[in-house]
């Protein structure tokens, strides 16, 4: 560990004083992107908070200002409790699992093993599949006649054959499994580019000390990638939390009953299916707050140890 610590340059050690003019010119580089971003994001952001204060059934219906009424209602709404639990379960399982697997795979990929090009291409699959394609694929995988059950029968595990998406427990497990499947891919690619950036000298030095890949991975690469892992973790936390809307929509539409509804799915379901746009936006505000809290949490966690 001590050599690793010596290698990682502490952030604070960076020279922070620069000529004032250069600083300004550098900041100007960010201005177009910031302006662009503001032009398209400020609207939704303001709308999010304003609409959450309305009793507003649907796009075409009149709205009424009710202050924090939507939020008060949420406190006693069992549907929200269920969705919050599901979201917590999903994020709690997917993010840590994904981080460990994708770091290891990323390390493996950075060694450029035989077939790494194919592997790299395959890792884009989850982003490659459009909504239409995903909907088709999930049916093929989880339907009673589908791939999972066919594999179980083939392995002689016929007693485990079940309609996966139709009972609360297994349906949520499917959503989590697909979440991991999809999250690992992109994270692996991100870790691979980061680990490839680690100086070969560092790796070489540890090799002379007789380190195998396992200890190199955990004792050299991991500490160096620690802060980057925080970034990946944060990104995936947000993607899993917010992206579950589409995933749930495609897999179970929140069913059976409401057993697989997540907070992000409720934003869609409440606004579009249940004719309560205002309430849906209030759920979105809650998600926003959870998102900010999670980001701060993850940042603190991954900063504390560097």
């Amino acid at each position: 560990m001590p050599d690793a610590a010596a290698i990682v340059r502490p952030r604070s050690a960076r020279p922070s004083r620069r000529p004032r003019g250069r600083q300004l010119s550098v900041m100007l580089l960010t201005a177009p992107a910031l302006a662009w971003f503001a032009a398209f994001m400020v609207g939704p952001l303001v709308a999010l908070f304003y609409f959450s204060l309305l009793d507003w059934p649907s796009l075409l219906a009149p709205s009424r200002f009710i202050g924090l009424g939507n939020f008060a209602r949420m406190i006693d709404d069992p549907l929200i409790h269920q969705a919050a639990f599901n979201s917590a379960l999903q994020v709690g399982i997917v993010v840590p699992t994904m981080l460990v697997i994708s770091f290891m795979l990323g390390y493996y990929l950075s060694l450029m093993p035989p077939g790494h090009k194919v592997m790299r291409a395959a890792l884009f699959t989850p982003v490659l599949l459009s909504a239409s394609a995903q909907a088709m694929v999930f049916v093929g995988v989880f339907s009673p006649m589908g791939l999972v059950n066919a594999t179980l029968r083939w392995l002689g595990l016929g007693m485990f054959v079940t309609p996966w998406l139709s009972s609360g427990g297994t349906a949520m497990a499917c959503i989590i499994a697909v979440g991991i499947w999809s999250a690992v891919s992109l994270s692996t690619l991100m870790f691979a580019t980061r680990i490839a950036n680690i100086s070969p000298e560092v790796m070489e030095a540890s090799e002379l000390d007789g380190c195998g890949h396992w200890s190199k991975m955990w004792r050299i690469a991991a500490p160096i990638s620690w802060e980057f892992a925080g970034v990946v973790g944060m990104l995936q936390f947000l993607w899993v939390l917010f992206g579950s809307a589409t995933l749930v929509l495609l897999l179970t539409r929140g069913g059976p009953g409401n057993s697989t509804a997540t907070l992000a799915f409720l934003v869609y379901d409440v606004s579009f299916n249940r004719d309560q746009v205002g309430y849906g936006q209030a759920v979105a505000v809650v998600l926003f707050i959870v998102g900010v809290a999670g980001m701060i949490g993850i940042r603190t966690l991954f900063r504390a140890r560097t």
Partner: protein
């Protein structure tokens, strides 16, 4: 930050100026938004009819199709309305959010047009009733109807030693047991989607008089209604006696249709849109209903029928082009055009066309059977889609799996149904 803000507003303003002119209006005189996508069997007929209309009148028509997956057509239309860029007519099913369109002024009620355009003698009164909302608006012009019977594969039933289509619930249970013994799947249905929802509500309303069924379907309260609970108990009994295939709660309508059409399952419930695909096994199929129960609300087996399958909504934009729309509407309801529409598409117009003609034109044995076998032998149950409120629809679909899962007792079943109605 000032410079940034200036930069931003300047950029956005120039962009808007440059591109504002790009938005192109449709070149056609009339625009129809429809859920009849190219994958829909009726679409070629519609294209042909519209082509003929343009030839005759010189009025050009553009057809824009949207997938209606998850009720998407409502979002597409409502947003375009907000932008003032809506189509002139919408051709779609009356269900979900569309049930509230007239109330929310998303479409123009057609109450006055029916007579003014001479359609009062063409469109039957009960079809208009299906399209009338609780405020008395006729939401659109009913165009196509459906029949939705139970399909019995008599060849498979015979293989299992069952020689007649079950007429009572006990016979249905006995048939299912015999089928299972013969290695044939009994009743199959999409127990996780809309098709299962229809079957479940059909069984649940067995003991409810029509008005009571309408009330419960629109407001819920299944657990509190004695007749509804009798129906729930019946459904649970059927399920626990093994009437439905194993794992039915996980099936979709596609799974069920495929299983029935390939002779894997012997009984299912499918709408008239499937008649065309049933051609392969038509010789084995008898169309009937769900058996009537003792002391129930119906004396004959029940099926669904309704005029809500497709209809024409007139939009605010369309209201400014009523002359052209009147011509188009009169054209599409003309017997000759209806002939084109039913030609090998499985469509059934709401207007009173000679059933023999429909059967013959459809070129489908199943359609002929439905025209011959159904009238007089079945009663129409209350069609849920007209009564279940839009915001409840999706939640009821999701409750379906719970209802079809073994081990869930009547209390849990009715609670799952009531849960869907919670605001």
């Amino acid at each position: 930050m000032n410079r940034i803000a200036k930069y931003a507003s300047l950029g956005v303003a120039t962009g808007a100026l440059l591109l504002g002119s790009i938005a192109a209006a449709s070149a056609a005189d009339l625009v129809i938004l429809t859920s009849w996508t190219k994958g829909d069997a009726r679409r070629p007929a519609l294209d042909k009819i519209v082509e003929g209309f343009t030839k005759q009148t010189g009025i050009t028509v553009e057809i824009d199709a949207s997938s209606n997956e998850g009720g998407a057509i409502a979002s597409v239309y409502e947003t375009s309305l907000l932008a003032g860029k809506e189509a002139d007519l919408v051709l779609a099913s009356l269900e979900g959010k569309l049930l509230d369109w007239a109330k929310r002024k998303a479409v123009v009620p057609v109450n006055d047009f029916v007579a003014a355009w001479g359609l009062d003698k063409t469109i039957p009164v009960d079809a208009i009733a299906d399209w009338t909302d609780s405020d008395g608006h006729v939401e659109g012009l009913p165009y196509l109807k459906f029949t939705w019977p139970w399909w019995y594969n008599t060849t498979l039933l015979k293989q299992a030693g069952v020689n007649a289509v079950p007429k009572t619930v006990d016979e249905l249970i006995a048939a299912a047991k015999a089928l299972r013994k013969a290695g044939i799947e009994p009743v199959t249905i999409g127990g996780s989607d809309w098709s299962g929802e229809k079957m479940m509500l059909q069984i649940v309303q067995s003991y409810m008089p029509r008005d009571e069924a309408k009330k419960v379907l629109s407001t819920g309260g299944y657990c509190a209604n004695a007749d509804a609970m009798k129906g729930v108990n019946l459904l649970v009994r059927l399920r626990d006696e093994g009437v439905f295939v194993d794992g039915v709660q996980g099936l979709t309508s596609n799974d069920a249709t495929a299983a029935f059409m390939t002779g894997v399952a012997a009984i299912s419930s499918m709408g008239s849109w499937s008649y065309k695909d049933g051609e392969g096994i038509a010789a084995s199929v008898t169309l009937a209903g769900f058996p009537a129960v003792d002391g129930g609300a119906y004396s004959k087996p029940t099926y669904y029928t309704g005029a809500t399958l497709s209809g024409w909504f007139v939009t605010p934009a369309g209201a400014k082009k009523l002359d052209a729309i009147k011509k188009l509407v009169q054209f599409v309801y003309a017997p000759e055009q209806l002939g084109t529409l039913i030609d090998h598409t499985g469509a059934i117009p709401v207007v009173n066309v000679d059933p023999k003609l429909v059967a013959q034109k459809a070129g489908s044995t199943m359609m002929t059977k439905s025209m011959a076998e159904l009238p007089g032998t079945v009663d129409a149950a209350v069609m849920p889609d007209v009564w279940v409120p839009g915001p409840v629809t999706e939640a009821l679909y999701r409750a379906t799996s719970i209802v079809f899962t073994n081990g869930n007792g009547p209390g849990k079943v009715c609670a799952a149904l009531d849960e869907a109605y919670k605001k």
